[in-house]
């Protein structure tokens, strides 16, 4: 029965032998053959009728968007405008949703529970924990996402992203990474898990690993709201009201660009040490500009992107709200579990320019970055409740109808602009969410690289926040 197998081996041996007799470049010559044939066919069957004004216009636009002098400023400006529109545009609907879901929806549900004489151990976790967290996530996240995603998708459909990749290719190559990493980086601005999956377009395993490990430096949509909110409350408020939006969006832009810088830095570090190797080249065809189909864009980005991301946030936020309610209400000895954790982490937090509340929030929020801010608020109410600032009681997410009240609450809990700045930096540099960690494991099949990708950003965050805190305090306490 091994006869067929034998003839198959003979066939392979014959091929091996024949290969020696062929000219060494026979493959290239055959490829040239194919190219020549298509050129002949195209020459015969394609006619150009007159000069096209559109082609000339596209060339001019391409030259503008990819030139050294105008390309980079345009990229930064585009991102800045998108962020500014998101921050300015999200305020009103956010306040509206908060008023509807939190200010009115929550008391209404409570009265409903009282009317049904639901026991406190049931209505507490369900309404104060689960519902309130969910309501917060929806009102804080939905408006910015509903503005940010369509704007981003319009840029994508128009054909701008490949130009960004083209502009950044040079820099990625210089740090020893693949030019296509620019594409996975942009995907990461939507969602890091999606960015990690998108690294499949990179063929070289070495360069792919670099792209995976450093993708977390792209601010994902779970972190944009944190950045936007904290920048508005702590940095925007430092400027006169007319400029607040501009200052806030500029500082978010700064953090996003810092992320790009850190991505280059960490890619460079990896490619010079553990992931050394040749940079591979690739060809990227700049696609034609296409007028975006606005209705289609709105539909896809709202239904396929916003809704999915929001749903994910809710799915993770709801159980987290439950856990929060529990650790805030179950007591061990004198204080609650959360109280013990906050107290224990406070010194570490101080060192990083943060506080114990933020660190506990980041532990609780590992499943989804989206719930960091709601968790911080809830824990702050708990921690400051002892000094009489909170009136709602332990573990109930505070009702904040505008960002002024949010600022008052946080400043009351001892937050300073330093806390805000360090939180923005830590939000950029901390471990990826659990979905992304799992995706990294699925893509790399390596516990070691998953650990590197998880811990590397934390190391950057600790160094960055620690340094900023030391410098800030030195300047603040120095001679005036």
């Amino acid at each position: 029965m091994d006869d067929p197998a034998q003839t198959r081996e003979d066939l392979l041996r014959a091929a091996e032998q024949l290969r020696w007799d062929l000219p060494q470049d026979f493959r290239d010559r055959w490829v040239e053959n194919v190219y020549g044939e298509s050129a002949r066919l195209a020459a015969r069957r394609v006619a150009k009728t007159g000069a096209s004004t559109r082609l000339a216009w596209e060339r001019r636009l391409d030259r503008f968007l990819t030139s050294r002098w105008t390309g980079y400023p345009t990229m930064v400006l585009m991102l800045g405008v998108v962020l500014w529109l998101t921050i300015e545009g999200a305020n009103v609907p956010s306040a509206l949703l908060a008023s509807l879901l939190v200010e009115h929806g929550h008391p209404w549900l409570r009265s409903l529970a009282e009317a049904a004489s639901l026991p406190g151990w049931l209505s507490g976790p369900l309404i104060d924990g689960l519902y309130l967290t969910t309501a917060w996530v929806v009102s804080v996240m939905l408006p910015p996402m509903a503005i940010f995603f369509p704007l981003f998708t319009i840029l994508e459909d128009f054909g701008y992203l490949p130009r960004v990749a083209f502009n950044l290719d040079h820099w990625f190559r210089r740090v020893g990474a693949h030019g296509k990493q620019a594409l996975t980086m942009s995907m990461g601005w939507g969602c890091n898990a999606a960015g990690v999956v998108a690294t499949r377009v990179i063929d070289s395993p070495r360069e792919r690993l670099i792209a995976i490990v450093t993708n977390n430096f792209s601010l994902c949509n779970g972190r944009w709201p944190t950045q936007i909110l904290i920048a508005t409350v702590f940095l925007g408020s430092l400027a006169p009201p007319a400029l607040a939006g501009l200052v806030a969006s500029t500082s978010v832009l700064g953090v996003a660009l810092l992320g790009v810088g850190l991505m280059f830095l960490s890619s460079w570090m990896l490619s010079r040490t553990v992931l050394r190797g040749e940079t591979s080249t690739f060809s990227l065809e700049l696609p034609p500009y296409r007028p975006p189909n606005i209705l289609r864009t709105l539909y896809t980005s709202l239904i396929d992107r916003t809704a999915i991301v929001l749903w994910r946030a809710i799915v993770f936020a709801a159980p987290a709200g439950l856990v929060l309610w529990l650790i805030c209400n179950v007591r061990i000895g004198e204080a609650t579990i959360a109280g013990h954790m906050i107290h224990g982490l406070d010194p570490v937090g101080w060192f990083l320019g943060l506080n114990g509340v933020i660190l506990v929030a980041y532990l609780v929020a590992i499943p989804a970055n989206e719930i960091v801010i709601p968790t911080v608020l809830m824990l702050t109410v708990l921690a400051t409740g002892a000094t009489g600032v909170g009136e709602q009681g332990a573990g109930v997410m505070f009702e904040i109808d505008d960002q002024g009240a949010l600022g008052t609450l946080l400043r009351g809990a001892g937050w300073t602009p330093l806390t805000g700045l360090c939180l923005m930096l830590f939000s950029l540099c901390h471990n990826p969410c659990s979905t992304t960690i799992y995706t990294i494991y699925k893509e790399t099949r390596s516990a070691k690289w998953t650990a590197v990708a998880t811990l590397l950003p934390v190391a950057f965050g600790v160094i960055l926040c620690g340094a900023v805190a030391i410098v800030w305090r030195a300047v603040a306490s120095g001679p005036p």
Binding site: L22, R27, R29, R44, V201, E285
Partner: protein, 265 residues
């Protein structure tokens, strides 16, 4: 505009046949369609138009990483359609090219639709010629014809069809233009009503034609009836590991068995 075009067309007759979108519910399909083409030529738009699905399309190359599947019914036949990742060629062994190539070769599609950009025909035809090297059952879809027109580019579709030996259809998938023609030609090739005689390239390298012929005979001995022997021979000469593996474990033979069963039109 294009968002409404499919709904408007679903009810109206397309020639004699009509299109019914099945989304992902492909079930047992009568025919399998593979969508191949260069990156960013609108494969996914064609795919969405036929299946009624909303795979995310994006104006940058390499958007489709894995392959997407969907279904539709046309002229009473159930079709499964597979959106392959966009590739520039089938010759090098990058993962996305392997996905595309393996599906066309081993996925046994009833018809392969090669989507090309009308304004970039010279570059795009490279892939078309390579696909035609693997399969007889191909339809060339010259997409984005509206953009080409805006650039003052005219494509002689009939002439191209005569040169290539396969059906050629001009479409503007975003506007739904030409989709009826595409469906009709796909159906004709899939059912065997039209048997293409695709143009095969001559081997312009000394000794290559001879080596291919010798291997061709050896392949026929090991795998009687296997299609595309020339292409397999070429891959063996290049030392393509995947094809060598398929020869060694005999899985190349399954291709022949299936080809005989479906009956080459």
């Amino acid at each position: 505009m294009s968002a409404h075009a499919p709904e408007a067309c679903a009810g109206c007759p397309l020639g004699k046949a009509r299109l019914e979108k099945l989304g992902v519910a492909t079930g047992a399909a009568d025919h399998v369609v593979a969508l191949a083409g260069n990156p960013n030529t609108g494969k996914t738009t064609v795919f969405n138009l036929l299946t009624g699905l909303r795979q995310h399309t994006g104006n940058w190359p390499g958007k489709t990483i894995a392959r997407a599947e969907g279904g539709f019914v046309y002229a009473g036949a159930r079709y499964k359609i597979v959106d392959l990742p966009g590739t520039y060629s089938l010759l090098s062994a990058t993962p996305d090219e392997e996905v595309a190539r393996d599906f066309i070769l081993f996925g046994r599609p009833s018809v392969t639709v090669i989507v090309v950009d009308a304004a970039r025909l010279e570059r795009n035809l490279n892939l078309a010629l390579q696909v035609m090297q693997i399969t007889d059952r191909a339809v060339l879809c010259v997409n984005l014809i509206d953009e080409a027109r805006a650039h003052g580019i005219e494509v002689d579709v009939r002439g191209l069809s005569r040169d290539l030996g396969i059906p050629v259809v001009a479409t503007a998938a975003r506007q739904g233009e030409g989709i009826d023609d595409l469906l009709r030609e796909m159906h004709a090739v899939a059912t065997g009503a039209f048997a293409g005689r695709p143009r095969r390239l001559a081997f312009d390298v000394p000794g290559l034609a001879d080596s291919v012929r010798r291997l061709d005979r050896a392949i026929e001995r090991s795998f009687p009836g296997v299609p595309n022997r020339e292409w397999i021979a070429l891959r063996l000469l290049e030392g393509d590991r995947k094809v060598i593996e398929a020869v060694r474990d005999g899985s190349l033979g399954e291709l022949a068995a299936d080809h005989a069963a479906t009956g080459a039109g």
